[in-house]
């Protein structure tokens, strides 16, 4: 019997299927769409084939009421997933569609502290999406564009909506797209750095969530933030679902 972990986020849903030994049998990510719970159930497939279904993410309560057997928060899920992939991980940086968070683990991998952005999209995937749109660039190209410039423009706005108008004004004032893209990335880096510094950076740091999947972005972050040993999983968007599934195996072991 297998265990399913399902991470229902604001932008994407990820699922991970593990066998009893904790080996990943299947994992994939899809857009949440307008009805994330239905989508999640579809993606889960035949529920009776799983020993447990563990939900995490924004939609975990809905999934628990509907079809999941357990739930854990995305904090715990990312901690479990990151630790599984990088056994010495002591800090997790997770940047998702609407949240960015830093999680500190002790030597045993237990969560000892965490910090999350307040009710605001600044520094999240949503922020990057909106800025890319303002720049007229696909999200995948934003880092490459930024690397064409070594300018030092700064975005002053904290608010996503205001920052978007700032991007538009900078472009209208004749600033090159690359320089503005760079300003956007630096703004999200600085904000992330503040979160990291508030909690203290204990290496190794593992970078998870959708933003870590943007081509070139983890390397850009690592350079800008001087985090040379920033670890990035091959599928950063799967880490939450993986953590949820790992929790399912642990619970199963504990309860028999």
């Amino acid at each position: 019997m297998t265990v399913l972990g399902i991470d229902i986020g604001s932008r994407t849903i990820a699922i991970a299927v593990l066998n009893e030994r904790g080996e990943l049998l299947a994992g994939h990510v899809a857009d949440s769409g307008p009805r994330p719970l239905e989508r999640a159930r579809e993606m889960a497939g035949n529920l009776s084939s799983f020993r447990r279904v563990v939900a995490t993410g924004y939609g975990r309560h809905g999934a628990r009421a509907d079809f999941a057997t357990d739930l854990i928060t995305e904090i715990k899920a990312h901690a479990l997933g990151a630790r599984h992939l990088f056994p010495f991980c002591r800090t997790v940086l997770d940047i998702g569609g609407q949240d960015s968070k830093v999680i500190r683990l002790d030597e045993q991998g237990r969560v000892v502290d965490f910090i999350m952005n307040d009710r605001c999209a600044a520094g999240t995937g949503k922020f990057l999406e909106v800025m890319a749109q303002g720049l007229g660039l696909p999200l995948e190209e934003i880092v490459a564009a930024a690397c064409t410039s070594d300018g030092e423009i700064t975005l002053n706005s904290m608010c996503t909506v205001f920052a978007e108008s700032e991007v538009v004004s900078l472009l209208a004032a004749g600033q090159p797209v690359g320089a503005v893209a760079r300003a956007v990335l630096n703004s999200i880096c600085d904000r992330t750095m503040n979160l990291l510094l508030r909690l203290g950076i204990e290496p190794p740091v593992v970078f998870t969530g959708g933003v870590a999947a943007i081509p070139g972005l983890p390397a850009y972050f690592a350079r800008r933030m001087d985090l040379m040993d920033l670890q990035v999983p091959s599928s950063p968007q799967l880490v939450g679902a993986l953590g949820a599934a790992l929790y399912g195996i642990k619970v199963k072991k504990a309860t028999g």
């Binding site: 949240d99 237990r110 999350m116």
Partner: protein, 423 residues
């Protein structure tokens, strides 16, 4: 059910708007309060008070004024209600705890201001709070810049008197505060036309001490494991203490305490033994602000104490009852009220001592620091509190929010993750 529309329209209220306000409350109350398992029987009284929050007590206020009495509204735990009552007036608490009033407050106040101030001013401007409408005098204080300036705006709509609270606790500050209390006494005497006698003041000092002791006894029961009463219920009782007739409130709270003490004796609780125990510290929660407590308690932890103005800050420390002259009594009042550790003071190390003492006494597993958005004093003070608690290995998390519901999902995630960390 009695129709109170005449009562409300006589108070100059906006009935249509008021209907919208009162139609939402029963639904929220049902979800937050009435679905709790194993509630003490004696909570029925407090349910009634909330169900009739704009009627039963208002009838009493109207009756009091019909007989020539005055009503004073206060916003803060620093206002010495003993003096108001000794002059024959009724004192009611006026904090605004609902998002409903925020847009009306924002008509005259900046958006980037704490929701409590915006809601209070909005409640007056919208004419939908019968307590505001019943007040002959509103009593402000200088506990923060936002309030201090808001009183000037509010003063255009209603009579306002402001007490100047010192921001330090040196001997000269105590002397200044004592002077403020004397001025306050004179203003209240002028309002009511009654002299405050040492006999009357002694009576009110004793009464308010009894009220504080009743709350202290209730809080004491929350030290038990399993906890015999929910944090939501205890918070509600404290919130009601600001509005209710003090004698009736004391009787009902003492009855509740007796019932809850019997539960402790029989090992009965509202959460399973060993459930995580949370201390909430920070800014006040005015009716109907039950948001954070509801999130914490539906996530499986018990709020066992509030180090807030709607918690221990309101009722800790009694006024010395031995004073025989007005001089002695005013000094005793000044001393007691200046013991409150509000973040408006600098330094405010007393608050840290309070938090550590409460963490110990209530066997707290984690501290949640509640900050109403844009309340700068408490927001800045988090730095000191967080550092001190973490040095002692006590888990702490700050939650900054307002009265709206849009961040509930995110708050739930943070609270649940905090609890996962404690377990």
């Amino acid at each position: 059910m009695t129709d109170y529309r005449k009562l409300w329209s006589d108070l100059g209220m906006d009935l249509e708007k008021h209907d919208r306000l009162t139609s939402a409350l029963p639904l929220i109350y049902e979800e937050v309060y009435l679905q709790q398992p194993e509630r003490p029987q004696a909570m029925e009284y407090f349910d009634l008070v909330v169900a009739e929050i704009h009627s039963l007590r208002i009838v009493e206020l109207v009756e009091h004024r019909r007989r020539g009495g005055k009503v004073c509204g206060a916003f803060c735990v620093f206002v010495p209600v003993e003096i108001i009552r000794a002059a024959g007036a009724v004192a009611v608490g006026l904090c605004g705890g609902s998002q409903f009033w925020v847009p009306d407050g924002e008509r005259v106040l900046p958006r980037n201001l704490c929701p409590l101030i915006k809601a209070s001013v909005g409640a007056r401007l919208s004419g939908t709070c019968p307590y505001f409408q019943s007040c002959d005098l509103l009593i402000g204080e200088t506990t923060c810049d936002g309030k201090k300036k808001a009183w000037e705006v509010l003063g255009e709509y209603a009579p306002v008197y402001v007490m100047d609270l010192p921001q330090m606790k040196r001997p000269q500050d105590l002397a200044a505060w004592r002077g403020e209390i004397e001025l306050f006494l004179a203003r209240i005497e002028e309002l009511t036309g009654c002299r405050v006698t040492p006999g009357r003041l002694a009576e009110e000092i004793r009464l308010q001490n009894r009220l504080r002791q009743a709350l202290e006894r209730l809080y004491h029961t929350r030290k038990a494991d399993p906890v015999p009463i929910s944090g939501k219920d205890a918070l509600l009782v404290t919130q009601v203490s600001f509005y209710d007739d003090p004698r009736r409130f004391i009787d009902k709270t003492e009855a509740l305490v007796a019932e809850v003490e019997a539960r402790i004796a029989s090992g009965q609780g509202v959460f399973p033994p060993g459930a995580p125990r949370i201390l909430v510290t920070g800014t006040p929660m005015a009716i109907p602000n039950w948001k954070l407590h509801h999130i914490i308690e539906t996530a499986g932890a018990a709020v066992v104490c509030e180090e807030t103005c709607t918690g221990t800050r309101f009722f800790e420390h009694q006024v010395d009852e031995t004073g025989r002259t007005l001089e002695e009594q005013l000094q005793a009042l000044a001393e007691r009220y200046l013991k409150i550790n509000c973040s408006c003071f600098t330094p405010n190390s007393g608050r840290l001592e309070d938090i550590f003492r409460l963490v110990e006494a209530y066997q707290v597993d984690g501290v949640i620091y509640y900050n109403l958005q844009f309340c700068h004093g408490y927001a800045v003070e988090y730095y000191t509190v967080e550092k001190a608690l973490k040095e002692q290995g006590i888990p702490v998390m700050k939650v900054e929010t307002d009265y709206s519901e849009e961040d509930t999902g995110q708050l739930r995630t943070r609270v649940e993750a905090f609890l996962e960390m404690l377990r």
